[in-house]
């Protein structure tokens, strides 16, 4: 019995690898912003620590969490891509990533997201969009708190 292409697209090897071995996993201490995000209906959770530079760049980022492969892999892949990037670029990445999972608009900067494009498989599984967005919404919240700090 063959697995469907949609399923293979959703769970690509890179995604499964990130879910099993999440990058930037753990906590940051010291001067950083800590946010908590969850999807109460499915129980997925994420705690994220972000250290912003004076210009709003993401100097360091770590996370812990529990949840489905999509939520944890998406967060892991995100941390790899945003670490070291400036605030404006991260904002664009955030908007672009939303377009990737919703498939609702062309990307502004395709190169910036790299292998995160692999998560476009989520488009065929609308109920998983909130899983893919969990880490990104946490980052968005951290950026909001940094702006008001």
């Amino acid at each position: 019995m063959a697995l469907s292409d949609e399923l293979r697209d959703l769970y690509q090897q890179v995604i499964l690898d990130h879910s099993r071995n999440p990058r930037n996993h753990g906590e940051l201490t010291g001067d950083c912003i800590h946010v908590h995000g969850d999807n109460p209906t499915c129980g997925d959770e994420i705690d994220m620590w972000v250290k912003f530079g004076p210009e709003g760049q993401v100097e360091d980022i770590k996370f812990t969490g529990q949840g489905c492969a999509i939520s944890q892999a998406s967060a892991s892949m995100m941390t790899v891509k945003v670490k070291g990037e400036g605030g404006a670029k991260v904002k664009t990445m955030l908007e672009d990533f939303r377009h990737i999972v919703l498939g609702d608009a062309p990307l502004q900067d395709e190169d910036a997201l790299g292998e995160l494009i692999l998560l476009e498989g989520v488009q065929k599984f609308p109920q998983r969009v909130k899983c893919a967005m969990l880490g990104w919404r946490a980052l968005e919240q951290a950026m909001g708190e940094a702006a008001h700090a």
Binding site: L3, Y11, L16, C42, D44, I70, C131
Partner: protein, 404 residues
């Protein structure tokens, strides 16, 4: 029993999902409906539809007769002493809320104890949290042991004179545990507590006798036992129902109404304001007739057979953890796979035509108790087959390979 023929009574089962034959193992969430129930709804709307209780014309009398006949069917199904002890509700949740609002408002005081268990569905937990908040009563819980049964050794310290409400689930939707409701109700009665049993997973699955259980209230839903969604019932001991104030005000629940005041009908009408779900009740009656034509004991035995097979086969999977006692158990197996989160597994299964449930199953405290973010659950009914269990095993083995 000719189970293959019985399966053909369920038209919905004969379909392909994502290019595979549907395997429906989400029966604990909602069961499928036999043709006779669907036809009863169609017949009612095509031939007899009218409002009940108030019309003197032919259709209204037909609708009223069909509607009221179901009260007796429900009473006989669960062993009530009289049919006036059956209040029609939207289901288990509404039944519990009726008691947790009306009974609690009249009889619960600050400092009283509401004793529940650690395995209650949110629908038998949140209404009591609200009642506790309103009255100042205190919530306590019988803890759940590692094997998924209740820690009855705590009863001596928990079941005290302060306990005014004892409520628990008959069969756990998350563990499959069958609780010793008769013994628990006897203990609760001995301290003078009111008792309510949540029978959502029990009625239509195992023989239920409310008088033998000795409970004051018993709540259940129709849709988990072949009836339509949106209809269920609350059984209440008549003297207790009679002592209770009305719930919703409106038509049908009153005798005389002036601009200033009203007096209320006797139960069950007192708790059934407004036009009821007439078609739903008629569908519930058709479901009871259908289940009785097979026999509840035969259904229980068939479900136990399928569950035993599934439990045995699933325990052979690498990296699986099965929750709840091996036996006796309701017709479900809840499990956690080391390699895959429940939502990933359920997504995987869905693309193969297998309907499982994944998540916290409306029992978040229980998930915390077992230190899992959620579980996957396969739940069975009498129309499922051994071949479907084997098909599920194929899919689970594939999933383990895929996610490991």
């Amino acid at each position: 029993m000719d189970w293959p023929r019985i399966r053909t009574d369920f038209p919905i089962l004969d379909q392909q999902v994502h290019g595979h034959p549907l395997v429906y193992f989400d029966n604990a969430a909602s069961s499928q409906k036999p043709r006779s129930v669907i036809e009863a709804l169609v017949h009612y709307y095509q031939c007899d539809n009218a409002n009940v209780h108030r019309g003197l014309h032919e259709l209204s009398m037909r609708a009223t007769d069909a509607f009221e006949a179901v009260r007796g069917k429900v009473a006989r199904l669960i062993g009530a002493a009289r049919e006036e002890e059956i209040v029609f509700t939207r289901g288990t949740t509404e039944s519990v809320n009726l008691v947790a609002q009306i009974w609690a408002q009249q009889f619960l005081k600050a400092g009283d104890v509401i004793l529940l268990t650690g395995m209650e569905h949110h629908s038998n937990l949140v209404p009591w949290q609200l009642a506790a908040k309103r009255s100042g009563a205190v919530l306590k819980h019988i803890p759940v042991l590692e094997d998924g049964t209740l820690d009855l050794s705590t009863l001596d310290s928990l079941m005290t004179e302060q306990v005014k409400v004892f409520s628990c689930v008959h069969i756990s939707n998350s563990l499959g545990t069958m609780n010793p409701v008769r013994e628990l109700c006897a203990r609760a009665r001995a301290v003078g507590a009111m008792t309510l049993i949540d029978g959502a997973q029990a009625v239509g699955h195992v023989p239920v006798d409310v008088q033998a259980i000795g409970c004051d209230f018993y709540a259940f839903s129709g849709h988990k036992m072949c009836a339509p969604t949106g209809i269920g019932a609350l059984y209440g001991r008549y003297a207790l129902l009679e002592s209770m104030d009305p719930w919703h005000g409106g038509g049908e629940m009153i005798n005389r109404v002036t601009l200033e005041t009203s007096d209320y009908k006797a139960p069950p009408a007192r708790f059934e304001a407004g036009t009821p779900d007439i078609a739903g009740v008629i569908g519930l009656g058709a479901a009871i007739d259908y289940l009785n034509s097979i026999g509840i004991a035969a259904i229980e035995a068939r479900c136990a057979e399928l569950t035993k097979l599934a439990y045995t086969r699933m325990s052979e999977l690498p990296g699986i953890r099965l929750l709840g006692p091996e036996s006796p158990r309701g017709a479900l197996v809840a499990f956690a796979l080391e390699c895959a989160h429940p939502h990933d597994l359920v997504e995987f299964a869905n693309t193969q035509g297998l309907a499982l449930r994944g998540g916290h199953h409306c029992t978040q405290p229980l998930m915390k108790r077992f230190k899992v973010p959620g579980t996957s659950r396969a739940s069975f009914y009498f129309y499922n087959t051994e071949a479907e269990v084997e098909r599920m095993m194929d899919i689970l083995h594939q999933a383990v390979t895929f996610f490991s």
